[in-house]
């Protein structure tokens, strides 16, 4: 059974003359490692933000984690991890890395609830997993771009999501960090949490079967399973065709 089921969805921004996503159908099963590629402005980020309900779907039907996305957007966001593409934290941001990682669990805690022991344990585990223990007490605005990116990944791992979506998660990371984090995501997928990753850098992809989705101009032009070393050539071919 699919954990994400999109049927002929359309997504449009107000004032836009054309929908950003058109007639898009996608099915993702638990444990899949999905790579979403394609040229700039293909609609990749819009697709991720449609899946967690940050952007409204105008037509079609969408089910995520068994929930109707149109009715239960906030509940979907509680269950889906999403590492956003662009963020900037000024040096005076008054939150430590540990606090930011804990914020990943705020949605699932619910209103008026305080973090429990299990929340602190999940935060501790996520920080250790990503390898940022020495940064835990530092304020996030004083960290480098790569360290901030690792913090945001830990923020979403601490959430213990049912689906993990990542938008250009390695843009500020060196090769070793990329390879290490890819290993973490591969393990998550192995434990049944599907990974959906938008990326332009395909080095260090885990040696596993990849569900490759290539987008162009708001449509899916390729949707099939392939090996990690086939990802880049297929995307190049697909982008050259259109």
């Amino acid at each position: 059974m699919s954990i994400i089921e999109l049927n002929e969805i359309y997504t449009a921004y107000e004032g836009g003359d054309k929908p950003v996503i058109r007639d898009l159908s996608l099915s993702v099963k638990p444990g899949e490692y999905v790579v979403i590629g394609g040229p700039n402005s293909a609609g990749k980020t819009t697709l991720l933000e449609s899946i967690n309900g940050l952007i409204r779907i105008t037509h079609g039907s969408a089910t995520v984690c068994g929930l109707d996305l149109r009715r239960s957007g906030n509940e979907v966001r509680r269950r889906v991890g999403y590492v956003i593409q662009n963020f900037y934290f000024d040096p005076f941001t008054p939150f430590t890395v540990e606090e930011v990682v804990m914020m990943g669990r705020y949605g699932r805690m619910g209103l008026l609830k305080r973090p429990s022991r299990s929340d602190f344990e999940a935060v501790d585990k996520a920080i250790r997993l990503v390898g940022i223990e020495e940064l835990a007490e530092k304020t996030i605005g004083t960290l480098s771009g790569g360290q901030q990116q690792k913090t945001m990944i830990a923020h979403n791992i601490a959430k213990e999501p049912e689906v993990m979506m990542l938008d250009e998660p390695f843009s500020n990371l060196d090769f070793n960090a990329r390879e290490y984090l890819q290993g973490i995501f591969k393990n998550m997928a192995g434990n049944g949490t599907p990974i959906l990753m938008v990326s332009h850098a395909f080095d260090g992809l885990p040696e596993t079967r990849i569900h490759l989705v290539v987008m162009n101009r708001g449509r899916i032009t390729y949707d099939n399973v392939c090996d990690a070393d086939e990802v880049e050539p297929i995307i190049r071919d697909e982008c050259a065709v259109v």
Binding site: L54, N74, F92, T96, E99, G104, Y106, L112, P115
Partner: protein
């Protein structure tokens, strides 16, 4: 409330009003400054000012009218931003201009009608003419602000960190944001009598800005900002009575002076030139 400390009833009321307004505005200021919504402060203050002018013009209670009108503006900010797909700051700019226009129009008209003096009180406040009920209302809104921050601390922190990331985490962003707008509206409306529509902005923004120069975490900011506001306001009230000076502008100037000093002394800005 502070009658056992201060014998003079007028001074006592002024100090009590300043204390409660400082607590509410100091705490709310931390949130709105961090969310880059400083313009919320001046929009709400001018909305309250316009509401009070409407109340005065119609001959109904200026304070209740201020509360209703600023609550009305607060209710507009969120939906208008969402509907118009504009940044909240731009919506605030539009509503600020509208509020100011309503206020100036009515105040000018009242001056023409020979009722200018009471209208001017709205601009500059009048801390020495407060009733006991005003103080109780301010105490209630300070308590409401403290309860709001304690109850929704984690949601407020998430909003202050990054609104989009908070929303993506499943935090009920809109609910908390709308409650925040309403509490700001009520706090500002009730504080209008003390420092006036033009200076209430100082109480909202400056103490939080001073606290941000020294505090490394949000908890300490929530304690430091109202303490700074409270201390400086109390000093302003004392100096105002002692040297017969206008209290509201004096408090505003003192807070600005403390801000300037804090920017100079802030250890958060220091660069370590040591070689290791």
């Amino acid at each position: 409330m502070f009658g056992f400390l201060i014998e003079n009833n007028v001074v006592c009321h002024a100090v009590e009003a300043m204390v409660f307004a400082s607590i509410a505005c100091g705490i709310l200021g931390v949130i709105i400054s961090r969310m880059s919504l400083s313009s919320l402060g001046f929009t709400m203050s001018h909305a309250a000012f316009a509401g009070a002018a409407i109340g005065m013009f119609l001959g109904i209670g200026s304070q209740m009218a201020a509360i209703f009108f600023s609550a009305f503006v607060a209710a507009l900010i969120g939906p208008v931003s969402d509907k118009a797909k504009m940044a909240a700051d731009a919506t605030l700019g539009v509503l600020f201009a509208m509020s100011m226009a309503v206020a100036i129009f009515l105040v000018s008209y009242m001056q023409y009608m020979g009722r200018g003096l009471t209208a001017t009180n709205l601009l500059f406040g009048n801390v020495i003419s407060l009733y006991r009920e005003d103080i109780y209302a301010l105490a209630a809104v300070s308590a409401l602000t403290v309860i709001f921050v304690l109850a929704f601390f984690k949601e407020i922190s998430a909003l202050m960190f990054n609104m989009k990331i908070a929303e993506a985490s499943g935090v009920r962003v809109k609910l908390v944001y709308y409650i925040l707008l309403f509490i700001v509206a009520i706090s500002v409306s009730l504080s209008l009598n003390i420092v006036g529509g033009l200076l209430i902005f100082v109480l909202l923004v400056t103490p939080a800005s001073i606290a941000s120069q020294f505090c490394f975490n949000v908890r300490s900011m929530f304690v430091a900002a109202p303490m700074i506001a409270l201390s400086v306001s109390a000093l302003g009230v004392w100096a105002g009575f002692k040297f017969t000076l206008p209290i509201a502008p004096l408090v505003a100037l003192l807070l600005t002076f403390v801000f300037a000093i804090s920017v100079i002394l802030s250890f958060k800005r220091r660069i370590n030139y040591k070689k290791y």
